[in-house]
């Protein structure tokens, strides 16, 4: 990417800022008014999920039916409560929401349901029974990854655990399920544990702190909710060979997936550490397509189709045996089994790679990157 395109992008930014306050006159007749209430969008996952929702709304199958407005509540549950209510008041037929809290929204969601508004929560859960939930089974995520790690270590070894955001249900369920597995193997010892906040940057800081008083040689494996890409990079920096990388159970970042490819694989745009290294990995994720799927289901629900209250998404798991490089990242290609993207297409290794669902042929790689639907 040259400087020219960057400059253009900045100019575009200024122009868009100027017209951002334009009032939507699209009170188009016959379109379903649907709102998306996001929480904090200042992290990679949220932004990617938002792109996919926008792409879904722009897909030809929905573009004539849906008038989607995206709003951000920030990290404050109080504001999301008020926002959802304002959406109800302005005539929403459905509200797709990334809930800041699984419990704090219950009252306002119940109020919305009573007025006939369909409320769909994606990724995280709303415990109010009238809400529709679309998410993975977090307990399964914790269990499957922990079991993989135990098997890799033959039930014996010192491991480090990097968890997510403390105080959230998702972190609690994943960590508890994993620890239950580890507890069954007395020879598996968690020698270090840190809060990783689901961020590669934080994972790096925390791992550095742990390694200040330990060496890589004392550790046999890693269980991380986010951070395997970083952990592998750190081992390479510390002078380990690619073949000596510790087994790591962790997130579905594209950087991690590329590292899983056999060492020496030719990949366009790859540069260490964002390059094939044959790293022993299990890669799982809360898939960012869940918002897009929630929107699709919301339209179906408005149109009177029977939609189940809870949609448990299949846990996207990729191991060294199943990892496969995509050429362009179209939905059709992913359907055929590819699950990692070239660094020349996805330049950010922390970008989340689990974007495929056989229920969402409307969205592919371009949807996640720039919000463009498939044809």
């Amino acid at each position: 990417m040259g400087i020219g395109s960057k400059v253009r992008r900045l100019a575009l930014l200024a122009g868009m800022a100027a017209c951002a306050f334009g009032i939507s006159a699209a009170e188009a007749a016959g379109k379903h008014k649907i709102f998306l209430s996001m929480s904090y969008i200042g992290n990679d996952w949220q932004a990617e999920a938002a792109n996919m929702v926008k792409a879904m709304a722009a897909h030809k199958s929905l573009a004539d039916k849906v008038d989607l407005q995206v709003q951000v509540a920030g990290p404050n549950a109080q504001r999301q409560i008020q926002q959802i209510n304002a959406m109800v008041q302005s005539g929403a037929e459905a509200i797709v929401v990334y809930p800041i809290s699984p419990t704090a929204l219950n009252q306002v969601v119940k109020n919305a349901c009573d007025k006939g508004v369909k409320v769909f929560a994606y990724d995280a859960e709303i415990t109010e029974p009238c809400a529709y939930n679309v998410h993975i089974d977090q307990l399964e995520a914790g269990r499957v990854t922990a079991e993989w790690l135990v098997k890799k270590l033959n039930g014996k070894g010192n491991i480090i655990a990097i968890t997510g955001v403390p105080g959230t249900s998702v972190d609690d369920q994943r960590t508890k399920a994993a620890k239950e597995v580890f507890a069954k193997y007395p020879d598996i010892k968690i020698v270090g544990e840190a809060v990783g906040m689901w961020s590669q940057a934080v994972a790096r800081t925390e791992l550095s702190k742990i390694l200040a008083t330990r060496s890589w040689g004392d550790i046999n494996g890693l269980w991380m909710q986010v951070g395997c890409f970083t952990a592998n990079s750190m081992q390479l920096e510390a002078g380990k060979k690619a073949s000596e990388l510790l087994p790591c159970a962790g997130e579905g970042s594209n950087g991690g997936r590329i590292q899983m490819l056999p060492e020496g694989t030719k990949v366009e745009g790859a540069a260490p550490p964002y390059a094939p290294a044959g790293a022993q990995r299990i890669s799982y994720a809360s898939p960012p397509y869940s918002g897009a799927l929630a929107l699709k289901l919301a339209v179906e629900a408005i149109e009177g189709k029977d939609v189940p209250k809870t949609t448990i998404l299949p846990l996207p798991v990729v191991t060294n045996e199943t990892v496969k490089l995509c050429d362009e990242g179209t939905w059709a290609e992913m359907k055929a089994g590819c699950n990692a993207f070239k660094p020349s297409l996805v330049s950010n290794p922390g970008w989340f790679g689990s974007i495929f669902s056989d229920q969402t042929p409307e969205v592919g790689l371009n949807a996640a990157l720039v919000g463009q639907p498939e044809n």
Partner: protein, 693 residues
């Protein structure tokens, strides 16, 4: 009564005007809120019904109640960072102790429990602040960490049960169809405040906030007033916690934390001056509702998601500006001064236009010379006694932590890797401490640090994209951009008279929006090999950045201690008016100070990009509170004027070493948070100001 009113029309009119002047802040906040309500009503499809009003009133009630407490603390000259944590704690305490099977719940009992928990925390804060005379910001920061840990011990994930009776009561109608209950609750609290304000205690509160020394001199028991203030404020947070429990019917251990920053914004938008003595909770209530109304404004205007924080920041600045329109406002004063300068320039009597003649008295120089010859330089420890007293405790605690690490985890003192990690991990805060520290020395605060870091890293990574050559132009671009950010902050604060907290909070939001729009949600690019080498390679046992840090620390010490700029910074912090009268260009210096802070944040953004290999959105979020904490732990005074960079450096090393110790253990996060808070509190105990003899 008729005759009395008839007899003194002039004084009555004067009294009314004085009352208006005194409550200007609150009145303007009320007007802004009315305008926002009108806009929402005007643009949205249907008319504003009672239901809307009722819902809006409950939406803003939690932050309004908590912000009332914060206002009282700020009026007394304090600062309370534990407010959000108290709300979370009350929320989980209520939800975990109510019995779902019980047929009903006593509203009085549970409200009392909530307020009681809040007051207990307030008493804890009050003890350390009032009795032990410790700085409010450190005490409440430590309390915040401790409470977050305790909250997670009570309930480690969202859940629990709050009786619907509470919700029916607090969210219902006081008069059906006319008056929603949340407004009544806020009204009752405000009435209690008016009663309190009229008592001797109320007068004492404002007196302590305006000038604690004078207050003590006229016989006010400053310790008691300060203690009571934190207890009362704790009660307000407790009530806010009860309200949010009623509103949500359950608990979430993280629910209160994000309320903290917007609470300060509500206080300032409501016309209360940070630093104490002026303003009141009525304006704060309007301020809190203004901030909540922003959500509805964004919705009716259909501002797209990426622009939300930009719009919010803009509204915040506009609201603060509206609140400061008056003859005495900084902006008006600046405009008058500019006009006077222009007139003087026309008349040719500006100092710069006058003949440059040395007008000093000759005698002064002689006596100065004699003085120097007469007294020998005092010993080092005497010259720097004060600096040492405030800076040393951080280093003593650091030593303790290192010893504990050695005993508990082994491999510390004799392990060069440990020291190298300590220095590398500290390097980010070492840089931030200079920027934030200088801002704090002038009595300000820079809250725009997180997204200055974020946007710098993102733009750098995008431009560099793995090429060392690109660093040559990417680094200057990012640093110039940081200068522009700092200039905007400084200009708003110095020339428009916007409070540093509001200005930098707004800038932070605007930068977040720009970062999102620029990256389209997915930051591209990655750091170049050279940058990575600086942050992660080893020259023997030392990472290159550590060598750079040594140079940085020396430059920072010289900058603050040996240059005219440094002296001006201390001058402004010790007294704005005195600084102005002694000929310091206050505005220019303030702008430079905020530019320095922004540049430091940008450097951290660049370093983090090198350290992590890529930039990510939100990468600076974890650095705001630590950047303030290290400065204060290092012995600086949050109100400005006192502090030494080497003390801050000690603070950085201490907190980093502590985190490394905790990370090496397998203690649960809740316990770590509590320990962290306790150690910070203990470290600062040694710093507390001794009672005046």
């Amino acid at each position: 009564m008729n005759s009395a009113a008839g007899l003194t029309p002039v004084s009555a009119g004067f009294g009314l005007r004085r009352a208006l002047m005194r409550n200007r802040g609150a009145l303007i906040a009320a007007a802004v809120l009315a305008i926002l309500l009108f806009i929402v009503d005007w643009i949205s499809a249907g008319p504003l019904t009672y239901f809307d009003v009722s819902f809006l009133s409950s939406g803003g009630a939690t932050s309004a109640l908590a912000a009332i407490g914060q206002t009282i603390v700020i009026l007394s000259g304090g600062f309370d960072l534990s407010a959000g944590a108290v709300i979370s704690l009350v929320n989980v305490v209520l939800a975990s102790s109510m019995d779902p099977m019980a047929p009903g719940a006593s509203i009085v009992l549970w409200t009392a429990v909530g307020i009681g928990v809040g007051m207990a925390v307030g008493a804890f804060n009050g003890f350390f602040i009032a009795v032990l005379r410790m700085q409010p910001i450190v005490v409440t920061l430590s309390t915040m960490f401790i409470l977050q840990g305790v909250t997670l011990l009570v309930m480690d994930k969202p859940g629990g049960f709050v009786s619907p009776d509470l919700g029916t009561f607090y969210l219902g109608d006081a008069i059906t169809g006319w008056l929603p209950m949340p407004l009544v609750v806020i009204g009752v609290v405000l009435l209690a405040w008016f009663w309190l304000k009229g008592t001797r205690f109320g007068t004492a509160l404002y007196a302590v906030g305006s000038d604690p020394d004078s207050a003590a001199a006229v016989g006010i028991n400053v310790v008691l007033v300060r203690f009571a203030v934190y207890v009362i404020a704790g009660g307000c947070y407790g009530l806010a916690g009860v309200f949010i429990s009623a509103q949500t019917g359950s608990a979430d251990p993280l629910v209160g934390n994000p309320l903290l920053l917007s609470m300060f914004a509500a206080v300032v938008v409501g016309g209360t001056r940070l630093g104490g003595g002026q303003g009141g909770p009525v304006g704060t209530v309007f301020g809190a509702y203004i901030l909540m109304m922003v959500v509805n404004i964004l919705l009716v205007l259909n501002v797209s998601a990426y622009y939300a924080t930009i719009a919010e920041g803009t509204i915040l600045v506009l609201a603060a500006l509206a609140g400061s329109i008056s003859h005495a406002s900084v902006l008006a004063v600046q405009l008058r001064a500019a006009r006077a300068r222009l007139t003087a320039w026309r008349a040719g009597i500006l100092p710069a236009q006058l003949e440059r003649v040395d007008r000093r008295l000759k005698i002064a120089e002689q006596s100065h010379g004699q003085h120097r010859a007469a007294s020998p330089r005092p010993a080092f420890h005497l010259r720097n006694a004060e600096t040492l007293r405030y800076a040393l405790p951080a280093y003593v605690c650091l030593l303790l932590i290192v010893v504990v690490t050695q005993v508990w985890l082994g491999r510390a003192i004799l392990n060069p890797g440990y020291w190298n990690s300590l220095l590398v991990l500290s390097s980010f805060l070492v840089v931030l401490a200079l920027g934030q520290g200088t801002v704090i020395l002038t009595g300000g605060l820079d809250l725009s640090v997180p997204w200055t870091i974020g946007i710098s890293g993102i733009i750098l990574a995008g431009m560099v994209n793995g090429s060392d050559a690109a660093l040559l132009y990417a680094l200057p671009v990012v640093l110039v951009m940081a200068c522009a950010i700092g200039f905007a902050n400084g200009f708003g604060i110095a020339y428009l008279g916007i409070s540093p907290i509001v200005m930098t909070l707004a800038t932070n939001g605007i930068l977040q929006g720009f970062a999102l729009v620029y990256s389209q949600g997915t930051p591209a690019g990655f750091s170049s090999p050279m940058l990575r080498w600086f942050m992660t390679a080893r020259l023997g046992v030392v990472t290159p950045i550590v060598l750079l840090m040594i140079v940085f620390v020396i430059s920072a010490v010289l900058l603050l201690g040996r240059t005219p700029f440094g002296r001006r910074v201390y001058g402004i912090g010790n007294g704005l008016r005195a600084a102005r009268l002694s000929g310091i260009g206050v505005e220019r210096t303030l702008i430079l100070v905020y530019m320095l802070s922004a540049v430091c944040a940008a450097v951290v953004g660049i370093m983090l990009t090198g350290f992590s290999g890529q930039a990510s959105l939100g990468m600076g979020d974890d650095y705001l509170l630590p950047s303030i904490a290290v400065v204060v732990v290092g012995g600086a005074l949050i109100t400005g004027g006192r502090g030494h960079y080497l003390g801050m450096l000690g603070g950085v090393l201490l907190l980093t070493a502590l985190q490394m110790l905790l990370a090496g253990t397998t203690l649960p996060y809740a316990t770590r948070a509590i320990l962290y808070g306790l150690v910070v509190l203990g470290a600062v105990m040694a710093l507390r100001e001794r009672r005046l003899q």
